[in-house]
Amino acid sequence: MMEPKPANPLTRRQLFRGAARMMTMTGLGVAVGALATRGAKGASVWQIDPARCLHCGNCATHCVLEQSAVKCVHAYAVCGYCQLCTGFFAPEPNELTTAAENQLCPTAAIKRTYVEDPYYQYSIDEQLCIGCAKCVEGCNRFGNGSLFLQIRHDRCLNCNECAIARACPGDAFRRVPVEHPYLLKTTSR
């Protein structure tokens, strides 16, 4: 017995067109939805908990952006303004100057400014910072821990599945309310 044929059979071209249209509409819907909910109450963004961060270097290498959305930030209230800042200087500097060979940061993203004898202020140039946490490790190992990593939300794409969070060995990445997007340090460690 022969199967009945539909009155207007769908051609392959029609099928593909329909599918493409549907996919486009779905994509647009998702994008509009994401934009709408990002600023809405109850929405969340990724952030690093400084208390769990292990300064492993993955933030510099695993972000989907070419230059990571993670940057070093500085809690000035916690900083000791040390002459020998172990976040700024290599472990065995020739002398305590800003010469490149004495610096720890691979991109020279920390600026050292004289305050008064023997205090110096250290500030981060975020354009240069790659979020490698080398300075964070130095500061935490020997100092007050005033340098720490945070996701900068002007750069972060807020991916549904953050590539750095997947690779984070300390599980330091967590979702925080969009109204409080940073986890800042106010006291030493």
Binding site: G80, P91, G138, N140, S188, R189
Partner: protein, 338 residues
């Protein structure tokens, strides 16, 4: 005739491709995930070369090890009869040279530092005041806090004076034996050429040396400074470096004591190590290197504050060096080799 190649129909082909892609992504994803968490850090802060001491530099060997009687050990001192006095928790305990427990003094708060004068009088420093005990442990006096920000971390006593290192106010206070403040040493003063103490974490120490001068660690400047009892700055030595001859980190040395011949024994945190320098500051040898204090070294790797790490040392009349490991909560007795 049977065809040479059997052609897939479209449904079968898509099915096979989808399955293969799913399997590939699952396998690849898991592998990548595992690799991500275990990959060596290209930006590692590597100080491993400083955590192992050249055996040729180690001049002392451990001959005994005793647990500290209470938790939260902080400092130790030697009395005139070679009794060891250990601050731990709210107590000061004396230990004999064999490690036997003797006197126990209960304080009203955490014991921060201790000194014992030649006549046996015990001066116990709490954060904001000093308590005075006779050699049998009876409380004689309480010297009140000179300033709300006072944080006493070191004490030294001779027949006439008691010197108290105040890490909170960046000064060494000179008391007479009646408890009256008679001098302030080390406050920054350009006219007297006094550089001022830099103390990022609460570790300021003071000792009275046989040459009649005080020695005070200045951790933020990575050096030991010499002062007269009246507060004149006489000189300083020390250089910042993680290498063995220098003082590592942001703020070291954290404690100082002296051998009978005037050579200095210094203690560091971060890379915990005890070293000996000549009177003029030339590095001589290592008493115990970072490998001797694995838990202490780990204290600064963890997310704890390095303030909770640290070591202290005291020297008896035979030149034996007693090291207090604050983290391991034990006292190591070190004797010179050979």
């Amino acid at each position: 005739m049977k065809p040479e190649f059997e052609l897939f129909d479209r449904r079968k082909f898509f099915g096979v491709v989808t399955k293969a892609a799913a399997l590939f992504s699952l396998a690849g994803g898991t592998k990548a995930g595992a690799q991500d968490k275990g990959t060596a850090n290209p930006f590692a802060y590597d100080i491993s070369r400083f955590q192992k001491t050249d055996p040729k530099l180690i001049a002392y060997e451990e001959v005994a090890r005793w647990p500290v009687p209470h938790k939260d050990a902080r400092r130790l001192a030697i009395g005139p009869d070679n009794q060891l006095y250990v601050c731990a928790g709210n107590y000061i305990n004396s230990l004999s040279r064999a490690g036997q427990r003797g006197l126990e003094l209960a304080l009203t708060g955490p014991a921060c530092c201790v000194a014992v004068a030649r006549d046996g009088t015990i001066f116990a420093g709490q954060r904001d005041h000093i308590e005075v005990f006779n050699p049998k442990g009876a409380r004689l006096a309480r010297w009140a806090a000179p300033d709300p920000k006072t944080w006493l971390t070191g004490l030294a006593a001779d027949d006439k004076d008691v010197f108290a290192a105040d890490a909170g106010k960046l000064v060494v206070l000179r008391y007479d034996r009646a408890g009256k403040i008679t001098g302030r040493i080390g406050t920054k003063d350009a006219e007297r050429n006094v550089p001022g103490f830099i103390v990022p974490s609460p570790f300021l120490d003071v000792i009275i040396c046989r040459d009649g001068l005080l020695r005070v660690n200045n951790p933020g400047r990575h050096r030991i400074e010499a002062y007269t009892l009246d507060g004149d700055f006489e000189g300083a030595w020390g250089k910042p470096s993680a290498a063995i001859e220098g003082f590592c980190g942001c703020c070291n040395p954290i404690a100082v004591t002296a051998l009978a011949d005037g050579r200095m024994v210094t203690c560091e945190k971060g890379i915990p190590r005890v070293k000996i320098y000549s009177v003029t500051g030339e590095f001589e040898s290592v008493v115990a290197g970072a490998e001797s204090f694995p838990e202490n070294a780990h204290a600064c790797n963890d997310l704890n504050d390095c303030v909770h790490g640290g070591i202290d040392a005291a020297v008896d009349s035979d030149g034996r060096i007693y090291i207090l490991d604050i983290v391991a909560s034990d006292v190591r007795v070190m004797k010179r080799k050979g």
